[in-house]
């Protein structure tokens, strides 16, 4: 078979049931203070207070060793916590990147000192991380990035410019990818390294970029002779490309790749009531639920493979492509079905959530790698 993917149905073990109930009850209580506009933000909503509360309950860094502040629970228990938070549109952005990517990276490749410094703070919900990848001239073609880190006496000297870095203005630490070795002509994937960068280091200038919603989520970050200590290097010098890629199966297959618009659906059902006259509405609802069901199964199947030490990059790309496609279609479709005006008007949760999501859904198939990049990865796997 040309592309024998591994998508094996996987059922969450029964011991996750009690945990799910616990998280759901917590979220329901917290949700009372979120308006529709905030719910629409979901995992891009930044709320340090919520992250601290989740940290207190042991719901950040769940799978990590206790010696680093973790809770040694299974990846599947973590999955349950994530999907419960996302289904409600909880503003989990202050710890999302650290819990999903940066923490696991530090756990895998960090020095003992780096682990001790960052991991317990992440688990407490007190260390917000961002990822410095894109640059003005390096987007999808990330490996052509030019920001440099030079080895100097006592550490590293950083110069260059990152862009589209989500929440850099509110975060504490960036894991940034910089050119350390070969120049682009020598093979651009070589010679890249990852660094742990305290965003308060002198020489860093963070300029928020206002987006089309009127808010500022991403930033331009200028590095002007930023001096980092020796131990800021993350993992292997010049091994940054492979390190950054290994994170992608995690980044692309989680519930955050198909649930971003989910909170709209229960709101729409509540508005529609128990039956509809127009069968096309039932069909649209049924189609969305069917797609959600399949995506959840795909995502769980990948989760299980990751847990077993595999890296299903093709499967993750497929799940992201299909998942972001659904979460992109949902806002427009739901607005049409319920005949709701996307309107920021206090008290109307559905309209407010629609108003936000209709404006930001174009970003869903950009963040974490564009549709076009996903298709390139899938096609390569198919032998094309």
């Amino acid at each position: 078979m040309s592309a024998a993917y591994r998508f094996t149905p996987f059922e969450l073990p029964p011991e996750t049931v009690a945990l799910r109930a616990e998280v759901r009850a917590f979220v329901q209580e917290e949700a009372k203070q979120w308006n529709g506009w905030q719910i629409g933000h979901s995992w891009t909503g930044f709320d340090r207070e919520l992250s601290r509360k989740l940290g207190e309950r042991g719901w950040i860094g769940m799978t990590w060793p206790k010696q680093y502040g973790g809770h040694e629970r299974s990846a599947l228990e973590r999955y349950v916590v994530l999907e419960e938070l996302l289904a409600a549109g909880a503003p989990v952005g202050a710890h999302w990147v650290a819990d999903r990517q940066s923490g696991p990276l530090i756990m895998r490749l960090g020095t003992e000192a780096q682990k001790a410094k960052y991991l317990p703070a992440i688990c407490r919900g007190e260390a917000a991380f961002c990822i410095g990848l894109s640059e003005p001239d390096a987007g999808s073609d990330l490996a052509s990035l030019r920001s440099k880190a030079e080895r100097v006496d006592g550490g590293w000297l950083l110069n260059g410019r990152k862009v589209w870095t989500t929440y850099a203005q509110d975060c504490d630490v960036m894991i940034g990818l910089f050119r350390t070795g070969f120049s682009e002509e020598h093979g651009k994937h070589k010679g890249l390294s990852q660094f742990l960068i305290d965003l308060k280091t002198p020489g860093i200038e963070i300029n928020p970029i206002k987006d089309l919603t009127g808010e500022s989520h991403f930033n331009e970050i200028v590095f002007d002779n930023v001096m980092l200590a020796e131990d800021a290097l993350m993992g292997v010098e010049n091994g940054g490309w492979a390190q950054a890629n290994a994170e992608l199966a995690f980044e692309r297959s989680g519930p955050d790749r198909y649930l971003s618009s989910f909170p709209l659906l229960p709101l729409a059902l509540a508005k529609l009531g128990e039956s509809v006259d127009d069968p096309s509405i039932a069909r649209d609802i049924g189609a969305m639920v069917a797609e959600l069901t399949v995506l959840r199964q795909m995502s769980l199947s990948i989760q299980n493979q990751l847990e077993n030490g595999e890296t299903p990059l093709q499967e993750a790309a497929i799940t992201k492509l299909l998942g972001t496609g659904l979460e992109q279609r949902m806002p427009g479709l739901i607005a049409d079905i319920v005949e709701a005006q996307p309107l920021r008007r206090a008290g109307d949760t559905l309209s407010e959530a629609l108003a936000y999501l209709i404006q930001v859904e174009p970003s869903f198939s950009l963040r974490g790698g564009t549709n076009e990049i996903m298709k390139m990865i899938i096609a390569r796997g198919m032998g094309l």
Binding site: E83, S275, I285, V289, Q297, I318, M376, L384
Partner: protein
């Protein structure tokens, strides 16, 4: 040896047998009405047609165990009613009916089949499209009397004179059958008749996923060999993206079919079947569309093998409820359950 191993072994054996014996030539013979039963005899000797039977001493294999068998059948456009017979023998064994030798036909209740059981125990009504009716020793279907539903079986000899040959899109031997006035061999009341429609839907969804894999595989091979503008057309990004899209659809159909098998094994009939047949029917449409687009004119010729798979994709999409039917069923169920239940049922 545990059950999963038996199922894997059988799927592997079946894959080998069909790879060796089924090709464009044998499919053409089948579609021209000239197929013989020799391949069926080999299948019977393998014992694979009986594995879903249940009984006092034998639990039989479940849907999850057999998912790959159905996918293999779809992948090869198998020219025999093994899928139908597997499920029909399961239904008959569950109903404690004697199981006859030979292949069975299963009447799709969604395909214009409105069959009533009258007061004197006779059937009334016609089924417009019964696949494999002319091969079967018995025909199995669903009849209604008022609000009650009954599983019935009819001897092929009793309806032999009433088969009206017709050409379905898939062109497997297909007939319209008039059951009016026929006394069934057996009638058994069904407490939940939805399991027949759901079982058929999941069976077809799995076969669709197998056939989608085959179409994608053929298209990738072609794209890598056919040259235009001095290079294989598979090097053009426009084609790569379409094939990636087809591959995603095929993967979703496989996942949905396997998920539904678990639901059926847990006696949950509606939601899993709806998810599977909705997803697979959408995939059938998209994968056949992209497959033909990649092949260009050669793909729509009789000579090329592509159509044996794409016609079956269209056929199976229409059978046992298409994506509109199942999305409406699922949507109504979700609406009736209400907003509060949505997330709990998705994560149940």
């Amino acid at each position: 040896m545990n059950e999963m191993n038996i199922a894997e072994l059988l799927a592997d054996q079946l894959e080998k047998l069909l790879s060796a014996r089924v090709n464009a030539e044998s499919l053409a013979i089948l579609e021209a009405g000239g197929a013989d039963l020799s391949l069926w005899q080999e299948i019977e000797e393998m014992g694979v047609a009986d594995v879903m039977r249940t009984g006092d001493d034998d639990a039989g294999l479940g849907w999850q165990d057999c998912a790959e068998l159905f996918r293999v059948l779809g992948r090869h456009a198998a020219p025999l009613p093994l899928a139908e017979t597997l499920f029909a023998r399961r239904l008959m064994s569950q109903a404690n009916l004697g199981i006859p030798e030979g292949p069975l036909a299963l009447i799709d209740p969604s395909a214009n089949a409105d069959i009533q059981l009258d007061g004197s125990g006779c059937l009334q009504g016609e089924a417009a499209m019964v696949s494999w009716a002319s091969w079967a020793t018995q025909l199995l279907g669903l009849a209604r009397r008022g609000d009650e539903a009954f599983l019935f079986s009819v001897a092929a000899s009793d309806v032999a004179a009433r088969l009206e040959q017709c050409d379905s899109l898939g062109r497997a031997p297909t007939s319209a059958v008039d059951f009016s006035g026929i006394t069934p061999l057996a009638v058994v009341a069904m407490s939940d008749a939805s399991q027949i429609r759901s079982g058929l839907a999941v069976m077809r969804a799995l076969m669709i996923s197998g056939a989608c894999d085959k179409v994608v595989e053929l298209a990738v091979d072609y794209a890598n060999t056919r040259k235009q503008f001095g290079k294989p057309i598979g090097k053009f990004q426009a084609l790569q993206h379409q094939l990636a899209e087809a591959s995603c659809r095929a993967a979703a159909a496989e996942m949905a079919g396997k998920y539904a098998c678990r639901e059926l094994d847990n006696n949950q009939f509606l939601a899993g079947a709806a998810v599977a047949k909705y997803t697979a029917s959408v995939a059938a449409k998209e994968v056949s569309r992209i497959g033909h687009q990649v092949f260009g004119a050669i793909g729509i010729t009789d000579e090329h093998e592509l159509h044996y798979y794409t016609r079956r994709l269209w056929q199976w999409r229409a059978e046992a409820g298409n994506e509109r039917y199942w999305s409406e069923q699922l949507g109504n169920k979700v609406l009736a359950a209400g907003s509060e239940q949505l997330w709990s049922s998705l994560t149940a």
